[in-house]
């Protein structure tokens, strides 16, 4: 009798558990796991969307094609350059801002509230504002020339266009990581700084020998999130270049290329192969970063 009762309550728990999970399970199966498997299938096929959708199995053709695809190589170079510049810059800026705010400054809360505003704002709005400020006779060039600095053709000069996007995105993203650093800084005990004071450490020494090492795990997190985010750069490149990745492919990123192949050139199989490759690159980068951090901690 008791055993039967137990199974009954187990059965009820199972029913309730799956009832509560049902929207999640449905969405994960139909819009996440299903599409991932579908993406793997697409990556090995040529897809023809015209008329009846048809697939043609082409083995590894979509993957071998990348090596000879000049635009894929440019996109990867641009994206890698973007990651290498933006991730360290935004991480350092976020850390410096957070450490400064945490140094017992008056109005800390107000600075924090102001700094966070770009992070909330839609990428579309930020791009509109910056495209307008980046015009040849826009705010930024006007300010630069008024203090005697050189001006640039921010959006139409191929050697500058990607840097314009970098500046905007560092400005927009650093505050989010600043808030994460701030939360961690507030958990560091004062006694460590007092001990450093007794040893006669200067403010800069305290920052370098106490704050930075203690924040290493947070820095690891900030770098991983930064790498994942920067590898996926799309919105800003798309809007700045009107979807082309121009001028002269200078703002072409991997995700923008995937978008172009899938939705403008009707080559969904190749686009899926590029997307799978990008996911692998991100995954490998994340694992390397985790591994480095673990080795350091040992």
């Amino acid at each position: 009798m008791a055993k039967w009762k137990l199974t009954k309550s187990q059965l009820r728990d199972a029913g309730q558990g799956y009832l509560f999970m049902s929207p999640t399970i449905f969405t994960i199966l139909v819009f996440l796991i299903g599409p991932i498997l579908f993406a793997l299938y697409l990556a090995f096929n040529n897809v023809n969307l015209l008329g009846q959708t048809s697939f043609e199995f082409v083995w590894f053709d979509n993957f071998t094609r990348m090596a000879s695809d000049e635009r894929a190589i440019i996109a990867l170079q641009n994206t890698a350059f973007y990651v290498v510049i933006v991730v360290p810059t935004q991480t350092i800026l976020a850390l410096v801002l957070a450490a400064t705010l945490n140094a017992g400054m008056k109005g800390e809360k107000w600075f924090r509230v102001i700094y966070f505003i770009p992070t909330l704002t839609s990428s579309a709005v930020l791009v509109m504002i910056f495209m307008w400020m980046y015009r040849p006779d826009g705010l930024i060039n006007t300010i630069l020339s008024s203090v005697g600095l050189p001006t640039y053709n921010w959006m139409n000069d191929p050697s500058v266009a990607l840097i314009s996007i970098m500046i905007m995105n560092i400005w927009a993203t650093a505050p989010m990581f600043m808030v994460i650093y701030l939360a961690a800084l507030q958990g560091i005990s004062d006694s460590l700084y007092e001990a450093a004071d007794l040893d006669g450490a200067s403010a800069i020494q305290k920052f370098w020998y106490v704050t930075v090492p203690l924040l290493r795990p947070v820095t690891g997190f900030v770098v991983i999130i930064g790498v994942i985010g920067t590898f996926q750069l799309f919105d800003q490149s798309y809007m700045f270049s009107g979807g082309s990745g121009g001028p002269n492919n200078s703002t072409l990123t991997v995700v923008l290329l995937i978008y172009q192949y899938a939705f403008s050139n009707n080559q969904m199989g190749y686009a899926a192969a590029l997307a799978v490759s990008l996911a692998l690159i991100i995954l490998v980068a994340t694992f390397i970063q985790r591994k480095l951090q673990k080795d350091e901690q040992l």
């Binding site: 399970i25 697409l42 700094y115 579309a124 919105d235 799978v276």
Partner: protein
């Protein structure tokens, strides 16, 4: 003793903080001021933050003469509000089940939720488009809402919240004869308000600011959401910066208001992301 920090250093730090505040605010103030200026004043390249001729015309024009702009605003509101409401209910339900209901396969589903967090959206972008096309959901609200009606990050967050939820509350409700579903919706969810608040704000912002999904799914201009609409408007009317800036301000206002009123939820949500 500690108060006696060198004053020069302090002054230097304040100059740094104030300069960065100016760098942060200037683009927004510049855009806000442009939204109240007539076009000829904007193009004259003056550096005045306060408009010489103050006008509401830009706002009036985008709402009355650009018939698509109110439609884009409506589309954005529908998608963000419905999407957020569904996320609140479904993520809480899943988080609660993963934390509190012992059903077979619970660990496996928890691992799947964690694994899903690591998949970049680009992988599912192309297949999801094909799936939505087969369903006939392109250019529809459900095409944007349904694939995003749950969020693995916030299922995880709700699970962490419910793991530490006091058991006595549910036990008392059970003694009062409430069913588990009744307990969840009438007792547990109301008590989870702080966690739900943080989740709601970030999910809303996610829908509101999303550019890529509506760009792919909505090909009919009347179904655009604001980010896609704004971009299309800019390509068509590249020199009408007065309208573009007014539209940008209208678009930013709701999130800014949320931020001002629910500041503490923002910080909680971010603190959670950092703990993960």
């Amino acid at each position: 003793m500690k108060k006696k920090k060198p004053n020069i250093l302090k002054a230097f730090l304040y100059i740094f903080l104030i300069s960065y505040a100016v760098i942060t605010l200037l683009p927004f103030l510049w855009a806000l001021s442009a939204s109240f200026k007539p076009l000829n004043e904007i193009l004259s390249a003056g550096l005045n933050i306060f408009p010489e001729t103050f006008t509401f015309d830009n706002y009036v024009t985008i709402f009355t003469e650009q018939e698509l702009f109110p439609r884009w605003l409506l589309n954005s509101v529908i998608v963000a509000v419905v999407g957020t409401a569904l996320n609140i209910v479904f993520n809480s339900m899943a988080g609660y089940a993963l934390a509190r209901v012992s059903f077979p396969g619970r660990t496996a589903w928890f691992i799947i939720v964690l694994a899903v967090l690591m998949i970049p959206a680009q992988v599912t972008m192309v297949p999801n488009f094909l799936i939505l096309k087969e369903l006939g959901w392109l250019n529809s609200y459900q095409g944007l809402i349904v694939p995003g009606m749950i969020n693995a990050t916030f299922i995880f967050m709700m699970r962490q919240f419910f793991v530490n939820f006091p058991k006595e509350v549910e036990e008392a409700a059970a003694i009062d004869g409430l069913s588990r579903i009744g307990t969840f919706f009438r007792i547990v969810m109301p008590m989870a308000k702080p966690a739900i608040g943080a989740m709601a704000i970030f999910v809303f912002m996610g829908f509101w600011n999303n550019f890529m999904a509506p760009l792919i799914i909505m090909t009919d201009a009347s179904m655009y959401t604001l980010p896609v609409g704004l971009n299309a408007f800019q390509s068509d009317y590249a020199t009408y910066w007065n309208y573009i800036m007014a539209a940008s301000m209208v678009f930013t206002l709701p999130v800014l208001l949320l931020y001002i009123f629910f500041n503490t939820y923002f910080l909680k949500g971010l603190a959670f992301t950092a703990d993960k």
